[in-house]
Symmetry: C2
Subunit: 145 residues, 2 copies
């Protein structure tokens, strides 16, 4: 590979338990299969990591864009649901993202714009997954106490 | 959603630091942006989680298939490299997977077959990502000491 690249490595511990690491940043996570697939549940499921990646990627985009616009955001929760195909390889066939933005006087138009920018332009995880499954979004704004 | 689905949620801690959780299994991971993107490196990068997901998914498939074939596998390391597009959303444009299988008398044909079955049929992460970027694989077999 000649251009910029990212790297990750998983290493078997035992059973179906692996540790995962991303490049040189020293970050490590545990992965394991569920008990019905020969694992002992000692870590996350790889396919669900895709949903965490999508949620985290778009959450960081939206937060960053709203902060740049000086919106007073005090909390953000992003939930992703992926509907699975019945047949192997059981890909996600539909992805629903829900953003719950907490803050003071946060503009709905700014939230909508931030979500659109993330899904259509900035989030690489969405950019890849939408080739495989349609992504829908919705949001709610909660006034901070 | 009416069919089977998976779910993940990320929750802002502070800065660009989020905790991620998958469904009801209690598994939690930390996500954060790099310092140049307003984070403090307190967790993994969401887009790199996609590579961890791909590596873990195909590693579990290959291990499971080789064990079913009674191959004597004692170790497995799977490395994934993703070449990034220069333009936003900076998706991975090419994915290279390298499998390093350690064991006693492991059959190269069995390893090749296990990899093909994973990428072409069983691994949902590969099933989704190959819609967005070509995936190439290679392997080496190391005789256990």
């Amino acid at each position: 590979m000649n251009g910029a690249f990212h790297e990750a490595t998983v290493t078997l511990v035992d059973g179906m338990h692996f540790t995962g690491q991303t490049g040189a940043d020293g970050f490590a996570i545990h992965l394991d299969a569920a008990e019905e697939h020969g694992g002992r549940g000692l870590g996350g499921s790889p396919v669900k990591m895709v949903l965490v990646a999508l949620a985290g990627c778009t959450a960081m985009d939206v937060l960053s864009i709203l902060r740049k616009k000086r919106e007073n955001v005090t909390g953000l929760v992003v939930n992703v649901r992926g509907e699975r195909a019945e047949e192997h390889p059981k890909v996600y066939t539909r992805l629903e993202i829900e953003y719950r933005v907490t803050g003071r006087g946060v503009s709905p138009a700014a939230v909508e714009r931030a979500i659109t920018l993330s899904i259509d332009r900035y989030c690489p995880v969405a950019g890849m997954l939408k080739q495989a499954a349609p992504i829908t979004t919705r949001y709610q704004i909660v006034e901070a106490a």
